[in-house]
């Protein structure tokens, strides 16, 4: 177990270093001059040199990286050129929105995918299973940027059931209004997760239910419900957890899209506006934050693995 954790930790550190280098060089090696961005196209060379000096952009790239990373460790991700807010403030203000979206959507996805997969797996290839399989296969072809505008068109513009774009209310301001604005984007995000969870869980449940230990559990005189919940579900959720990495990446892409569409000031919305304003320090900061968050979430799921199936840590 200790060996397993150590191995994972080493990989985690390598990946985080890699991510920070990648984010930094990605922003700095690409063409474009931040000084000109800040000063506008009519800047004089003297002004540009001054700004370059002020930002440390005249130093060698390697030095710049180490200066940047040491600032990062002090919690300083730089400042926006346009609003002069610090990047950490921007992240602190916008990240709760992403978090709320992700949590809501995952609650919805689990609440739908789990009962659906369990009902399907109980009678594979029967009517319910075929219907759910067909539906999720179709949903596979409906990524957020396709389904989100359609749902907004129907529920916000046409039927006025949910508020439309630019009506976001912070959780701290009005709880129920906030929930109301969260429903539509959460459903959009949930749809993609439902597909993944349903398909993985259904397939795993079907093969688990054919295992000897399920027959054994039946011979103990347990009810079908108990067998499903207590005996079949846990060994069947391995693939589900293993998929968490892919799921979390596409989930974040999804939150960016609904935030932009519904103009909710989350990380995605901030990232895209900073990109449009060439606010490179903010872009760099948000990118690093999101990338590290994804890597860390993957790492946490690796641990959940060993709790769900103690055999894994043993290798």
């Amino acid at each position: 177990m200790a060996r397993y954790i150590a191995k994972r930790l080493v990989l985690l550190i390598i990946i985080i270093i890699f991510v920070s280098v990648a984010v930094f060089f990605l922003v700095h090696l690409l063409p474009g001059n931040p000084a000109i961005t800040i000063l506008g196209p009519n800047a004089t060379p003297a002004n540009v040199a001054a700004v370059n000096h002020q930002l440390g952009l005249n130093k060698p790239l390697i030095d710049q990286y180490f200066i940047w990373i040491s600032h990062v460790f002090q919690g300083n991700l730089g400042q926006s050129f346009t609003t002069h807010q610090s990047t950490t403030t921007i992240i602190a203000q916008s990240f709760p929105i992403d978090l709320e979206l992700i949590i809501f959507s995952q609650i919805i996805a689990f609440a739908i995918a789990f009962p659906m997969a369990m009902t399907s797996a109980r009678r594979p290839n029967k009517l319910f299973d075929q219907a759910s399989n067909g539906t999720t296969f179709a949903l596979l072809a409906l990524p957020p940027f396709v389904i989100a505008p359609v749902l907004v068109l129907l529920f916000a513009v046409h039927w006025h059931i949910f508020p439309g774009p630019a009506s976001y209310v912070p959780l701290t301001q009005d709880f129920w209004s906030n929930i109301h604005t969260m429903v539509l984007p959460s459903i959009v995000l949930a749809l993609g997760s439902i597909v993944v969870y349903f398909r993985l869980l259904r397939n795993d449940l079907i093969s688990t239910l054919q295992e000897d230990f399920i027959t054994m559990a039946r011979s103990k005189g347990l009810t079908d419900r108990r067998i499903m919940w207590r005996h079949a579900l846990r060994p069947s959720s391995i693939s589900l957890l293993a998929s968490a990495g892919v799921t979390i990446s596409s989930l974040i892409a999804g939150t960016f899209i609904v935030e932009l569409l519904l103009q909710m000031p989350g990380l995605g919305y901030q990232l895209i506006s900073s990109i449009n304003q060439d606010d490179y320090l903010v872009v760099q900061g948000i990118t690093l934050f999101v990338a590290v968050a994804i890597v860390l979430i993957n790492f946490i799921f690796d641990f959940l693995f060993t709790i769900v199936d103690p055999r894994i840590a043993r290798e």
Partner: protein, 302 residues
């Protein structure tokens, strides 16, 4: 734990399964496969020969027609807020999805697939290094990286295709490596080796034909995934620059009209690109899925 004698039931089931597998008449691709293949081919043909079709200019509106009009005889799928023909923009926009989708997958295959075949066949240190690298790359959130690169490097079609292809490579590497490994030590490969065939020849003549079904079916899934990624970028305004149409930026325009910010709404500008995208992705998934079932390609766990 195969030390135990086969259970009666299991043995019976296995025998039946083996007999069914040996009977080729049982396997069919089915009508849905052919419908979907035809649709993909149709979209590809329309996109390729768009300039030969009697379509209005997709980038320039005809100000004598209706603004944000619904479907009519002169504009089958209606017009957008700049008086442009939606059908024409859809057909030209398909070019973007198809070029990025198939082009990106192809780049991913070249960058990921070829090293994968060599490293799985030769093994050794190169294999270890490439294998670890692929894990590190896979842990890196591709969507964030692609957004960041595209936003600084630029939105040209070839750049987007290249970047997405690059980030598809590690995934394709893993798939191709796994399926090459399962053939690399088979008898027919060893026999070819004994006859003095070169590595390249063995890979091309003996192994490639066997892993082709896997490459094709997973390749199509990769195409669908890349099309989704490009669509998301376009929706975020990070793909090809307007006025060049792509399904993603059409959806973005349609969605921004929904907000009523410009004082008008045009549901058609959402409905048609969304339907086109859905159909293309659905057909790609169906074709990949049916091919996988037909060739008995087992799911590869990454």
């Amino acid at each position: 734990m195969s030390s135990v004698v086969t259970d009666d039931l299991a043995e019976i089931k296995e025998e039946i399964a083996a007999e069914e597998a040996a009977d080729p008449t049982r396997k069919k691709l089915g009508w849905l496969f052919w419908v979907c293949t035809s649709f993909i081919v149709l979209v590809a043909l329309l996109a390729t020969f768009a300039s030969l079709l009697p379509l209005p200019n997709p980038d320039l509106g005809n100000y004598s027609s209706v603004q944000n009009g619904g479907p009519s005889w002169s504009h089958w799928l209606g017009t957008d807020d700049l008086y442009r023909d939606i059908l024409s923009r859809l057909i030209y926009g398909a070019r973007i999805s198809l070029v990025v989708g198939f082009g990106g997958a192809l780049i991913g295959l070249v960058l990921g697939g070829i090293p994968a075949m060599y490293s799985a066949y030769r093994r050794g240190r190169v294999d270890t290094v490439l294998n670890t690298t692929s894990y590190v790359f896979l842990a890196f959130p591709a969507i964030v990286a692609v957004i960041a690169i595209v936003s600084f490097w630029g939105h040209a079609l070839w750049k987007i295709t290249l970047i997405i292809g690059l980030f598809a490579a590690p995934l394709i590497y893993r798939i191709v490596r796994a399926s090459t490994l399962s053939y690399a030590s088979r008898d027919f490969v060893l026999a070819a080796k004994a006859l003095g065939a070169s590595d390249t020849r063995i890979l091309a003549r003996e192994i490639l034909p066997n892993i082709m079904p896997t490459i094709v079916s997973f390749g199509l899934i990769a195409v669908a995934t890349i099309i989704v990624l490009e669509g998301s970028l376009a929706f975020l305004g990070l793909s090809v620059e307007p006025p060049t149409p792509s399904w993603g930026n059409m959806l973005n325009e349609g969605a921004s009209l929904l907000t009523g910010a410009k004082g008008q709404t045009n549901p058609w500008l959402v409905i048609f690109p969304a339907t086109a995208m859905f159909l293309l992705l659905f057909c790609l998934n169906v074709v990949a899925d049916k091919l996988r079932a037909y060739f008995d390609v087992t799911e590869i766990k990454l």
